[in-house]
């Protein structure tokens, strides 16, 4: 890999060509994150104000929340942050294989977090009858956690695009038609994620309803045969397109792009650190 030879020669923290000494992309990202702090600050304080002064008839949050599920998703998001940090570390050293593994693991953890959130929202709406319109708790809770979930979903999409971008061929001749391959690669990843999440959530609901038994699983599998086949096809496409095919135009020089994405992903994590304490844990005191 061409990038390996250059590993360790680029200073990733300073850029002498700008007046601030900070790469412009990084400066822009920090500005954006600073503004997002204010955005989430307003959403969190709105939720807290109505929790401190609940209107009559507001349901007890403690009876609605599931601390076990939220703790699990918090742990998963923390681990995704670790994998993202390792991905940035890998590309700074020019280690493309490690970067791709770390990115895929981060995507996987991000999807688990989103799956937990979908499961939680589903449970709140259909089991606990808490919707965005029927109480102020629902309004502030779904707005805050839904906005955060949207940030995570955008982060997952960005991760997918970066993963696929890391396969761009260096050879200009091979780049003809790469856009189409790129598109198929992104679509295969998105389809695999959506079908995977759908199947896992469906299995969980089936198990919740009737308990763990071979008959339940067989009944669920027979009803989801098309989705299972679709998932297998998407995974086969991903394995085929994920095989190394010659030198690529993605190396240590692209470390800044990965780092920007990493900053965004870690920011989503720190917002969740605050939400986990302010929205969930404080209800149990």
């Amino acid at each position: 890999m061409s990038s390996t030879a250059a590993a360790g020669t680029i200073d990733h923290h300073h850029d002498p060509s700008t007046s601030t000494g900070i790469p412009n992309k990084k400066l822009l990202m920090w500005l954006f994150l600073a503004s997002d702090c204010m955005f989430f600050g307003c959403l969190i304080s709105t939720h807290l104000i109505y929790r401190l002064h609940p209107p009559p008839g507001t349901p007890s949050a403690k009876s609605v929340f599931s601390i076990e599920l939220t703790s699990f998703s918090t742990f998963i998001l923390l681990m995704s942050s670790l994998m993202m940090a390792l991905a940035v570390n890998a590309i700074q050293k020019g280690n493309l294989k490690s970067l791709r593994v770390s990115l895929l693991t981060t995507i996987f953890f991000g999807c688990i977090f989103l799956g937990c959130q979908v499961f939680e929202f589903n449970n709140f709406v259909f089991e606990k009858h808490l919707t965005i319109t029927n109480s102020i708790l629902g309004t502030t809770f779904f707005t805050l956690t839904g906005t955060h979930g949207t940030h995570v979903a955008v982060g997952v999409l960005w991760l997918i695009l970066m993963y696929v971008r890391s396969f761009q061929p260096q050879d200009l001749d091979k780049r003809r038609g790469w856009f189409l391959v790129n598109l198929v690669h992104v679509l295969a990843l998105v389809v695999a994620i959506l079908l995977g999440m759908n199947l896992v959530l469906g299995t969980t609901r089936a198990l919740e309803a009737t308990g763990l038994s071979a008959a339940t699983l067989a009944h669920f599998a027979s009803g989801a045969i098309l989705r299972i086949l679709g998932l297998l096809v998407a995974l086969a496409v991903l394995i085929r397109l994920g095989r190394p095919a010659g030198p690529v135009a993605f190396n240590e020089g692209n470390a800044m792009d990965v780092e920007m994405m990493g900053l965004y992903w870690h920011f989503v994590d720190i917002v969740w650190i605050v939400i986990f304490t302010a929205v969930y844990l404080l209800e149990y005191i």
């Binding site: 400066l27 920090w30 702090c37 989430f40 600050g41 002064h53 742990f75 570390n89 986990f276 005191i285």
Partner: protein
């Protein structure tokens, strides 16, 4: 420093960064576990709230300084982010204070 020593130093730094990231992630997981245990402890509410706020602040700082590389970046990045953070935190504090006044309670 000789020219051959520089890449070796860089390599050591990258290796130590890898270990640091793993150690910090483990520490964050432990703090999260402690936070969950904390809410079930039979102490006064203000002690538990203070403990949770401190724990989440520690986690927050570890993520921004280690995972987000503020520790190694120019101080201006830290200043920039903290401007947003202080404005956001200040807005939160002000809103909570305003709405705790009797005349400003949210409409029932």
């Amino acid at each position: 420093m000789s020219s051959s020593a520089a890449p070796a130093h860089g390599h050591d730094l990258e290796e130590s960064k890898f270990q640091l990231f793993v150690q910090v992630a483990m520490l964050l997981a432990v703090i999260t576990g402690l936070e969950i245990v904390t809410v079930y402890l039979p102490f006064a509410a203000w002690i538990l709230v203070a403990a949770l706020v401190i724990a989440s602040a520690v986690k927050f700082m570890f993520v921004i300084f280690v995972f987000m590389h503020l520790k190694w970046d120019k101080p201006f990045c830290t200043i920039l982010f903290f401007i947003g953070l202080i404005l956001g935190g200040g807005t939160m504090f002000a809103l909570l204070k305003i709405f705790s006044m009797q005349a400003s309670l949210p409409l029932q």
